[in-house]
């Protein structure tokens, strides 16, 4: 038997070997570029700081202890609140968009293309475009003054609102797509059944559409919440120096502050918060399923 035939025979007899071989490239990649750096980062958080960046050998909890200073807790809280606002807004915007796309039989492909169109330009360019739109002398302020709604330029740029706005515009396609995909799978017959049972459009949305598209909404919420929480570019450009999020803090530690251990510690904290968020959101539908028997 040739070597090749023997190899194929092994693959045929042992499906586990086949699975492992198929997974090998992805696992290798994750190991080298994700697991190992993550491990290094976790150890760096407990090493003494080198003043020029990097770390000294040895162990210390100095930097990790700083995480519990009120200043950093406040930054973290603000980051969570702004990201949650951005996620909630994105969710509110996405349902109408996704509903329109699902119902537009002929234009569906075009509308989906429009949803992902922003990805054709860089995130940086889009954020700069928002600076242009939101600034005191920008088109929005000019229009508001022209219409007599505002008498002086409204301060929009460099506010928390601008950061949320930037996060929502940047990440809303990540919400629209999963919500659309679960809406598309929804059996239209269920909506007709609800209508025949007396439910108006709004009641059908609340009682049928929302519960049955929950997996899409959860997936979309994670896809918006997680990058929002770690973002630093949006808050940097649209929030100016006034709105510092945990992402900016991490970035600063590795660049200007040259405090790698503290940057690593902050990253670990961010990771913990994200994992907590994921567990809460993914765990929530399962509890709901086993809810009480009678109305």
């Amino acid at each position: 038997m040739s070597r090749r035939a023997r190899f194929l025979a092994v693959l045929h007899r042992r499906p586990q070997v086949r699975t492992l071989l198929l997974l090998a490239p992805a696992l290798g990649w994750l190991l080298v570029f994700f697991a190992v750096p993550l491990g290094i980062m976790a150890t760096y958080a407990f090493r003494p700081r080198h003043i020029l960046g990097g770390v000294y050998p040895g162990w210390t909890t100095t930097q990790v202890a700083r995480l519990f200073e009120p200043l950093y807790i406040a930054v973290l809280a603000k980051s969570v609140v702004l990201s949650a606002c951005a996620t909630a807004l994105a969710l509110l915007i996405s349902y109408p968009i996704a509903l329109v796309i699902v119902r537009a039989r002929r234009w569906r492909a075009l509308l989906l293309l429009l949803v992902v169109l922003p990805f054709w330009t860089s995130f940086l360019v889009r954020t700069f475009a928002m600076i242009f739109m939101l600034r005191d002398t920008g088109p929005i302020n000019q229009l508001l003054q022209f219409l007599g709604i505002a008498h002086a330029p409204l301060r929009m740029l460099y506010t928390p609102g601008a950061v949320v706005f930037g996060l929502v515009t940047g990440f809303v396609p990540f919400m629209v797509l999963p919500v659309y995909s679960s809406l598309e799978k929804l059996d239209p017959g269920l909506l007709e059944a609800a209508e025949a049972l007396g439910a108006t459009a709004w009641r059908r949305f609340i009682r049928v559409i929302v519960p049955l598209t929950r997996p899409g909404a959860i997936a979309g919420s994670l896809l918006v919440f997680i990058p929002s929480l770690g973002s630093f570019l949006t808050s940097d450009l649209l929030g100016g120096a006034r709105v510092e999020l945990i992402g900016n803090l991490v970035q600063n530690q590795f660049t200007s502050a040259r405090n790698w251990p503290f940057g690593s510690a902050l990253s670990l904290l961010l990771l913990a918060v994200v994992m907590l968020g994921v567990m809460v959101q993914v765990g929530w539908p399962r509890n709901d399923r086993s809810a009480g028997p009678l109305p």
Partner: protein, 368 residues
Amino acid sequence: MPPPVLSLDRVSRRFRGVAAVDQVSLDIERGEFFSLLGPSGCGKTTTLRLIAGFDEPEADGGTIRIEGDVVNGRRPYQRPISMVFQNYALFPHLSVADNVAFGLVERRVGRDESRRRVERALELTRLDPAIYAARHPAALSGGERQRVALARALVLDPPILLLDEPLAALDLRLRKAMQLELRQLNRTLGITFILVTHDQEEALVMSDRVAVMSAGRVVQIGSPTEIYNRPRTAFVADFIGEANRYRGTVRDITDGHATVSRDDGTTWRIPAGDATRVGTAIEIVVRPEWQEVVRPGMAPHGHNALAGTVIEQIFRGDTVHLLVALESDGTARVALRSPGSGGANAEWSAGQAVLVTWAPPQAHLLAP
């Protein structure tokens, strides 16, 4: 006299210029079990959706009245109807009890009353609330889902219950049982049932009246016996059960009987209709079980007869169908009683020359 519970007056619906429902008029009385029967694409489902309000007639496409009120333009949730859907459309995220209570919640029925009505509806459809209330639709069999869908519609106590091919997905045994059960519910509850089906047997078994539809039009409305024994057109005759259709020309009419001659020279006598005229071409329907098969020359006195050759014997359990190639043209189908375990039905074999006979009254004259 109260108005019909449902009345359609020249209702039409076109899709891209093609009439799916064409000038349909119906009056359905309270408590009736009424069926819309026809092949797929005949407009029966569109008619049901127009009644439910999921679709609207043309701007000048007639009026739909429920209990005397014009309901054109009203949404389904504004119409006093309930509906059972073909695939049941149960809410997968809700328990059986919550599914059944769905419409009660929309009607703001109180908690205690709601619970009571849900239990009663489940019992009505023979689902033990203690066993089924907490289950989810995914954990139910097809027949159980069917019952939940029925309970969900009946719990609202609607004047009209619409059923869109409700039994199509069930196996034969269950379907037969449910047919009788639905009929029982119709009798005991006094709710008007309107059923859409393509299954002629189902329509015959369950209905008080049947509307046979074809190409968007109602071809015939009548009791099951009427549409089976006296089909108005060849389409109805062929669609309901099996039918032999024979053509001929009227030669003479005496004492309400017409003498009809065939191209091959044979003549028969049939009961003459009011519109029967000497010299016109006519077509009659003779059901397989109205006929008999005899040896050549053995036709009973006064019976009509057609000569032919046996092609095949088809065993159907309760009956045996004999296919006979007629000497003139076409094939006749004759139903014989099944011989039973005692005797093999060896009397007729393929290739044998026979006469297909029937008594003159056992024929229905199709409208010209």
